[in-house]
Amino acid sequence: MTFDVSRRSLLGMGLLGGGNILGKFLPSKALAQNPKQHDNHFTSSAVHGGSTTVGDVDNDRNGFSPRDILTDWDGGKVSQLPNGQTWREYDIAVEEREIEIAPGVFYPAWTYNGRVPGSTIRVTEGDRVKINFRNKSRHPHTIHFHGIHSARQDGVPGTLEAMPGEEVVYEFDAKPFGCHLYHCHSAPFKRHLHKGLYGAFIIDPDPKRHPEAEQQARSRLLGSSENKQWQEFLMVMNAFDTNFDEENEFYAVNTIPHEFMKRPLRIERDRPVRVYLINVTEFDPVNSFHLHGNFFDYYDSGTTLTPTLRTIDTVMQCQGQRGILEFSFQEHAPGQYMFHAHQSEFLELGWMSAFEVVT
């Protein structure tokens, strides 16, 4: 993989360069590339600094980690209905808590089950889903699920909205298969979203219902032997407006800026990669995902078993849009491959990451 000069300067000399300060945060492998001395009047010590947040977030205090969120699929309490349908039950509570959303920066968040993004609900197409929703906060809240359901289950003001201290129950069949999301729909809408009330809702395709693309469906079905070969990650593109000026100060996947840049995400070269990508960035019309040194196939909303876009290296998502990315590093040399928003503003404010491809 090669860097051009503009990219190098864009990313900040220090980010890829070795450095005393950065060395504290970055494993030595994160500094593998060695950019030439920047052509300006700066001494070498200045080049050692870099474009990154300083310090680390205390994940233990937060009670969740962006790395765990990548893979902790929540299947709920599973049982079988008399008609053979799978029944999945979830308990979700809204809590107001202060979380550390960037090193040293605390944010009065509203959370589903104490984390941002909330639990990743992962079910199979056709399952019966029941959500016991408790509102432990001081404001009315809902859960609005993306998917196909009746108006009575919609989770908007006036419909299944839980007042403070109340509990409401959502129940619906999971369809269509795909990569969806859920979020609060109470008013004021914008505030409820950017405070952190959102999460992923993934419906795996039922292979039996898709004989024309059964292999592909099986590869997506959590727990199948085909699925085990894949390295699957959930990435929720989000951002925080910490000073409430309707502009975001921090951008990330899974809440914590620069987390996967400081400690790149390890992937095995010989296993394919699937990313469930969801954009819930508030205030900015779009967000994007750009992969270095590679291209991917994209399934818009994840609702098809054949790609809706083939061989692309950047995809743009409007707020609330999502999709599935599939790619492989099988032919690649081991090393670090960045992925980040291709809006330079976002990447410099935290949405900047890297894969560490290992054999």
Partner: protein
């Protein structure tokens, strides 16, 4: 006797007790209000060097402030803080950013505290901040001399021609001095209030400027009149020199800070403008000397008193600028100028009555207006 002392102490004790009760019982709690911590941050100095950008920040929060992250041009950047940790109220800390700033371009900084509040700071034109070296010090000394001492000295050269003036001519020149001083009064006050605004809010800078102006005015007036009569001749000239000197300190500061923040073009223009501007000051200082026979040393001393503070100002401006101290200097300047306005005014009234007129005449109006106009005209060179 003892009882009267008691009555002086008792109210104070009662006051301290009641404050203690207020703090310990928190009478605000039934009102359902809690005082959220207020945060404020003032950037007092910006240093651009070959190791990046350094900021001297002063915390003004109601509680110690923690700077969590720093953005430069919309990018989070590594930084170190000296001393590290939370910054106590009204304390300062240096933030060092190894950022590759670009010469002659604008940079936007944004400091984000642990509560997510952000404080913006803009570097309009990035130029390396002059570091302290002897040759630089000498360079800025020359600049100060050029702005302060040279024009005042040149203005003094009008002295022989001032001596040839009759009574009416003298009235004109004194009124001219008054006009010029009136302009300087407003100018210095504005400058002081502006500096006060850029200082940390907790210092209540604008009140400070007014208060110090009042105190220094009364102090200098009292000293000036301690012999029972208004100062005249050499002593009036000395007060003129002193007050103009403090004003010139301000001009030096303006030039020094312009160079320090990299606005060399502005700095150079200021030098030219202030030099022309200050020529009039020399004439004003020389005017009360017309009746006496001053020595060369007196002229030299007066020139130094009025002009050398400009040198000090450039040094402070370049190497050690802090807005609240500068505002305090300006406050003293306002008081000093007001004092000489009073004294030159009374001298004008006395001069006028000696030649059988009043202080108010066509000639003094013309002089006063000419003073204002000359100052305004030359100030055009330095204002933007």
């Amino acid at each position: 006797m003892k009882k009267t002392w008691l009555w002086a102490i008792l109210p104070l004790v009662a006051l301290i007790t009641s404050i203690g009760i207020f703090i310990s019982t928190n009478p605000l709690s039934p009102l359902g209000v809690s005082a959220p911590p207020l945060e404020n941050l003032t950037i007092e100095r910006t240093v651009l060097g070959d190791r990046g950008i350094s900021l001297l920040v002063r915390a003004e929060g109601s509680e110690p402030m923690q700077i969590a992250q720093v953005q430069v041009d919309g990018s989070y950047w590594t930084f170190t803080q000296k001393p590290p940790g939370a910054i106590p109220r009204l304390s300062t800390a240096w933030i060092d950013l190894p950022y590759p700033w670009v010469e002659n371009e604008t940079h936007h900084l944004n400091l984000i505290t642990n509560t997510g509040i952000s404080f913006e700071h803009t570097i309009d034109v990035a130029v390396a901040t002059p570091q302290f070296t002897l040759s630089r010090l000498w360079g800025f000394t020359l600049l100060g001399l050029y702005v302060g001492v040279v024009p005042v000295g040149l203005g003094m050269l009008f002295y022989p021609s001032l001596k040839t003036l009759g009574g009416e001519g003298m009235k004109f020149i004194l009124a001219l001095t008054l006009g010029m001083l009136a302009f300087l009064l407003v100018d210095t006050l504005e400058e002081g209030l502006e500096l006060a605004n850029s200082a940390a809010n907790a210092f209540a800078g604008s009140i400070l400027v007014w208060a110090i102006a009042a105190i220094s005015f009364l102090t200098i007036l009292t000293i000036g009149r301690s012999r029972g009569k208004a100062p005249e001749g050499q002593s009036l000239s000395t007060y003129l020199s002193f007050s103009i000197g403090i004003h010139n300190l301000g001009e030096g500061l303006a030039i020094g800070t312009a160079f320090a923040v990299g606005e060399a073009a502005l700095g150079s223009l200021l030098v030219v403008g202030f030099t022309l501007h200050n020529l009039t000051e020399g004439i004003g200082i020389a005017a009360p000397l017309v009746k006496s026979k001053p020595t060369f040393i007196t002229f030299l001393g007066l020139t130094a008193l009025a002009g050398l503070p400009a040198v000090l100002g450039t040094w402070l401006g370049v190497f050690a600028f802090s807005p609240h101290w500068a505002a305090i200097f300006m406050g003293i300047g306002v008081g000093a100028i007001l004092q000489v306005i009073v004294e030159v005014g009374s001298y004008l009234a006395r001069t006028a009555s000696k030649i059988g007129g009043t202080w108010l005449s066509k000639i003094s109006l013309a002089g006063f207006s000419a003073g204002l106009i000359v100052m305004y005209g030359t100030a055009l060179l330095v204002n933007f």
